[in-house]
């Protein structure tokens, strides 16, 4: 009885791992397919309107990450990784940081660090406020890519290690 019970336990664990690789149920996948695009669109709205409405680069970047986390959890890591590679996120994070830093350094052309040298434009118009939208876009890209890589490292890479250990045994 005892041995049998242990076998059943092992089986359920294997099944669980398999299920995690495959992702969640059809309902969750369908809802994710419908929602993911809207969430990304909302994050882009939050980033681009950072200087007009509440929100900004950080909030938009985290919402962007949430969309990719949803896809990864719903579809399982293999299917999700077929569409996006990790090196791409490394590139995005560095790109965001460089955009922000270059925008700050450009202030030296006319005076000092972080000088708002672009034309201010009309208040409440989308292209206004000088360097602030540019900085928001840079921070948004950087935060989105960086937090998603942390999520991958904490949730996915740890699992890969575990699976390897089980194979060796």
């Amino acid at each position: 009885m005892k041995v049998r019970g242990r076998k059943e336990k092992m089986k359920t664990k294997e099944e669980r791992v398999k299920e995690e690789k495959r992702g969640m149920t059809l309902i969750v996948r369908t809802v994710t397919r419908l929602m993911a695009g809207l969430i990304v669109l909302y994050s882009i709205y939050i980033i681009l309107h950072g200087h007009l409405t509440p929100g900004g680069g950080f909030a938009g970047g985290v919402i962007f990450t949430a969309a990719f986390v949803l896809i990864t959890l719903a579809y399982g890591k293999e299917e999700a990784f077929a569409r996006m590679r990790e090196s791409f996120f490394h590139f995005l994070e560095s790109l965001g940081g460089i955009i922000f830093l270059v925008t700050a350094l450009l202030g030296f052309i006319a005076g000092y660090f972080f000088l708002n040298l672009l034309p201010k434009g009309k208040p409440l118009a989308l292209p206004s406020a000088g360097i602030i939208p540019v900085c928001n876009i840079g921070i948004g890209i950087k935060v989105g890519a960086g937090l998603f890589m942390v999520f991958l490292a904490l949730v996915i890479i740890g699992f890969a290690d575990e699976n390897k250990g089980e194979d060796k045994k």
């Binding site: 434009g121 009309k122 999520f151």
Partner: protein, 178 residues
């Protein structure tokens, strides 16, 4: 204002539940309750920027921690039942704290500025001149990216360093097989 104080009391109770529960999943749900109550508090204090960030970060951390709990264990073995002695000591500590707050505390806290009236007057300048000087109608954006841009650059570098640290510790490529 009453709603604010009810929410703050709810957050304290939920935080205590999160510490004392033995089931880690219930503990996480209590922690989530603290976070979402904090979101509503930010909204009541008219800080929608913070509320947006708080609600999304709360969801992300909850997802990550629930994934970790499903992978490891649900029962916290370090929490023990309190003995009678510990309960008595806790009550004594609470009484001492209340006496302190009631007697000495009122003297100390009288000198603090009242709620919503910070002693720094620079914020009034930002409210008055921010729109003309930066052209951004969201004053939070104009402060963190124009007046205080240097701070934001440092914060971005902190995040960059944190991501690099996590990836360096948890990476699988290039690690020596032990």
């Amino acid at each position: 204002m009453l709603v604010l104080y009810v929410l703050l009391a709810f957050m304290i109770v939920a935080a205590l539940v999160a510490i004392e529960t033995r089931d880690l999943l219930s503990s996480l749900i209590s922690l989530g309750a603290v976070g979402f109550a904090l979101t509503v508090v930010f909204l009541l204090l008219q800080a929608p920027d913070l509320a947006i960030v708080q609600i999304v970060v709360e969801i992300l951390t909850l997802v990550i921690m629930i994934a970790v709990i499903f992978r490891t264990t649900r029962i916290d073995t370090t929490v023990k039942d309190r003995s009678l002695r510990e309960i008595v000591l806790l009550c004594v500590g609470l009484v001492v704290l209340l006496v302190f707050l009631g007697g000495l505390g009122t003297l100390i806290f009288r000198g603090l500025p009242s709620f919503g009236e910070p002693p720094l007057r620079v914020s009034e300048y930002y409210l008055r001149e921010g729109l003309q000087e930066t052209g951004a109608s969201d004053l939070v954006a104009s402060i963190i990216l124009d007046y205080r841009g240097y701070d934001t650059l440092g914060e971005a570098m902190v995040l960059f360093t944190a991501v690099m640290g996590v990836l360096a510790v948890l990476r699988t490529i290039g690690r020596k097989k032990s």
